[in-house]
C-alpha cells in the first residue's frame, strides 16, 4: 500500500471527520439558538408518543399517503440509503477492519447494494431533470448531491474488494471523495439527515400533544349499535 493511499484512508479521513463533527456541533447549536415554542395548552395526547411515531415514520411506509400510494418510490428510498450505508461503512471497514471484507460474499453484497443505489440515483436524477416542479425548485446543490453520490457508488464498488495490489487509483479516489463529502456535506442538502430528527421530533411532539399523532385508526367500522352499545332512546 502506498503512503498516499495510507494517508487518504486514515489521516485524511480522521481530519475530515473531525471537521464534519465540529461543523455539525455548530450546526446543531445554530438550530438551537432559534427560539423554541413552549406549548401552553393542556395536552390530550403524549408528546413523546407523537415524537416516537413521527420519528419512526421512515420505517412505516403505510403511515403516510405519499409513501403508501407509491411503494416503488419508497423502495427506491430504502435501496438508495442502504447503498449510502454500505459506502459509508466501507470507509471504516477498509482501513480499520479489512479482514471483515475478506469473504467474497460480503464484498459482493456491498457491491450489489451500491450498484442498486447507483441505479436508483440515476432514476432520481432523471426524475429531477424531467418533472417540471422539480426542475423549478431544484438547485445546483440538489443536482450536485445526486451526481456526486452516483460517482461515490461507482468508486465504492471498485474500492470494496480492497485490492490495492490491482491498482490503487479507485481506492484513492474513493477516499478522497469521502473526505470531500465529509467537508462539504454540512453545507449541502446531504446534511438533511442531521435535520431529520429535529423536524420529526418537533412536529411529532406538537401533534402528539394534540392527539393527532400517532394517527388514530378507528377501532371498527361498525356502528355503536352493531357493537352492542345502547344508543339514544
Amino acid at each position: 500500500m502506498s503512503p498516499l493511499l495510507q494517508f487518504v484512508e486514515d489521516r485524511l479521513q480522521i481530519a475530515a471527520l473531525l471537521f464534519m463533527a465540529s461543523v455539525y456541533v455548530i450546526r446543531v447549536l445554530w438550530l438551537f439558538h432559534f427560539r423554541a415554542v413552549r406549548e401552553r395548552a393542556a395536552a390530550e395526547g403524549r408528546a413523546s408518543a407523537g415524537a416516537g411515531y413521527s420519528l419512526s415514520n421512515i420505517a412505516r411506509p403505510w403511515a403516510m399517503e405519499s409513501t403508501r400510494t407509491r411503494p416503488l418510490f419508497y423502495l427506491q428510498f430504502v435501496v438508495f440509503h442502504l447503498g449510502v450505508t454500505a459506502a459509508i461503512a466501507a470507509t471504516f471497514i477498509i482501513p480499520y477492519a479489512p479482514q471483515w471484507l475478506a469473504p467474497r460474499g460480503r464484498v459482493i453484497t456491498f457491491q450489489a447494494l451500491m450498484a442498486a443505489a447507483f441505479v436508483v440515483a440515476v432514476f432520481r436524477l432523471v426524475r429531477r431533470l424531467r418533472r417540471p416542479v422539480l426542475q423549478l425548485v431544484s438547485t445546483p446543490d440538489d443536482y450536485a448531491a445526486i451526481t456526486l453520490m452516483m460517482a461515490y457508488f461507482i468508486l465504492g464498488i471498485l474500492a470494496v474488494p480492497n485490492r490495492p495490489d490491482r491498482g490503487e487509483g479507485p481506492m484513492i479516489a474513493f477516499f478522497i471523495l469521502t473526505a470531500f463529502f465529509l467537508v462539504v456535506v454540512p453545507f449541502s442538502k446531504i446534511s438533511h439527515y442531521l435535520y431529520y430528527p429535529f423536524t420529526r421530533i418537533i412536529l411529532g411532539r406538537t401533534l402528539g400533544r394534540r392527539g393527532v399523532l400517532p394517527v388514530r385508526r378507528p377501532r371498527s367500522r361498525q356502528t355503536a349499535e352493531e357493537r352492542g352499545e345502547e344508543v339514544g332512546a
Binding site: A41, S54, Y195, I202, L203, P218, G232
Partner: protein, 471 residues
Amino acid sequence: MKTVKAAKSLSVENLPLDVATQDKARADALPSIQKDMLRTYDPAADNVRRFLDLLAERITRPVAASLAACVHCGLCVESCHYALTHPDDPTMTPVYKADQIRKIFKRRIDWTGRIFPWWVKAGTPRGDEDLNRLKNIVFGTCSACRRCTLNCPMGVDTAILIRFTRGLLTELGIVPEGVFNVSRDEWETGNQMAVTPLDFLETLQWMRDDLRADPKLAGLDIPVDLPGCDFMYTINPREIKFDPRSIAQAAKIFHLAGEKWTLPSAGWDQTNFGLFSGDDRLGGALARNLYEAAIRLRAGRIVISECGHGYRSTRWEGYNWAQYDQDLPSESVVRTLQRYLREKRIRVDKTKNDLPVTFHDSCNVARSGGMTEEPRDVLRRVCADFREMTPNRTENYCCTGGGGLLSMAEYRPLRMEAAAIKARQLEATGAKLVCTICHNCVDGLNDVIKHYKLDMRVVQVLELVENALVY
C-alpha cells in the same frame, strides 16, 4: 387520488395590492391604528428591510428546522389540492410555495446561501412588488390545510411556513383586503364580524323566544354572564350574524341535557383571524379575551361551538399566542354532545335523520386538533345512514375555504378550480348531506356544491342531533 385537471388555470401571483380600506382606516384614525395594533401599508417605507428584520427577529426553531430540512423530493406535490388540480403548473405545489420564503431564509440566515447564494438558489426580495407577489402566493394559493405536512417524509411543516410568512407581511400591511378588513374588525370590536353588543343580545333573545314557543321548552333560557356555570359557551360571529339557528339548536340540547351553561357578553368569539393572518398579537389578544371571560365567570370549562379554526385557535394555539398557561379545560361542543349521548342525558331517534350523511373532517380539527372519532361517534348515534368519504380523517381534503380564503375574494376563481378534488370526493359518497363541524367548511363546501352543481346540502352536527331529539 388521481390528478383532476381544472378547466383552466389562473395565475394569482401578479394580483395588485389593494389598500383602499387601509387608506380609509387611516383616514378614520381608527383606535387600533392609533395604538399601532393594526398595521397598514406604507409605500414610502423600506418594506424589504423591515421584512428581513422581522424574519430574523421572529423565526422560531420549528420554522427554522422546516426551512432548513427540505430536500426537494417533491413528495408533497400530490398531497395538495391546488397541485392536484393544476398538474401542469409547478407553482401550485407546496414545495414551490414554501421555497419562496425558504430562499429568503437561505440568503439571509442559512450559512451556505449567505456565501454562495447561487448554489442553493437563495435570494432577497427586490422591492414591494416581490413582497406583493409573495403575498399572493402565501395567501392566495394555500389554505394551510397541513395535508402536505403530514405527507412530508422529512416532517417539513409547510403550513407553519406559510403562516409565518403571512405574519411578516401582515406587519407590513401587505395583505389581501379581506384579511385587513377582518383583522380591523377583530381589533376594533373583539369579534371578526363587527357584531355589536346589542346585536348579540337581541339575537340571543330572539332565539330564546323562538324556542320558548314550544311548550315543552317553556323554561329554556340562553343565559349571558351567568357566573359559576358548568361551562362557558363560545361561538362564531357567523352564528349571530347569518345563521343563529345553531345557537338555538345548542341551547335546546343544553336545556334538555339539564346543563348549567352561559355565554359571556364579552369574549364570546372563539374564532381568531390571527391564525390565518399569522398575527400572533391579534391571536393572543382575542384568545386572552376569551380565557379571561371564563375565569371572570368562574366557568368550569370552555365549550367551543362548531368551528374548525376556532377550535384550533381556542383549544390549542391561543394559549401560546397569548402566553397564557391553560387554566380551564376546553372542548369542542361535539365532545359535549358525545358525552350527553353516552350518558343518555338526551334521547335521540336516528331514523329522524334518514338521508345518507357523509362527514367532512375540518383540517384544523383533524390534522391540527386531533379530533376525528368524536363527530363520527355522534353521527352514528343520530343518523340512520352514515357513510365515510374517501380519504377521510387526517387524510381528508380541505373544503378549499380554509386558511381565511373565504375572506379573500380575489383568489376565489383559483380556489374553485382547486375545489374539483373536493367535488369529486363529495360526489363519490352518494350522500345527500355532508356534515362538518366547521363554519368555514360550511361556506367552503357550499361554494363547492354550488359551483360543481352537486345534489347535496351542508349540515352541522348540532343540527343533526337537534333533529334527532326525542323529548
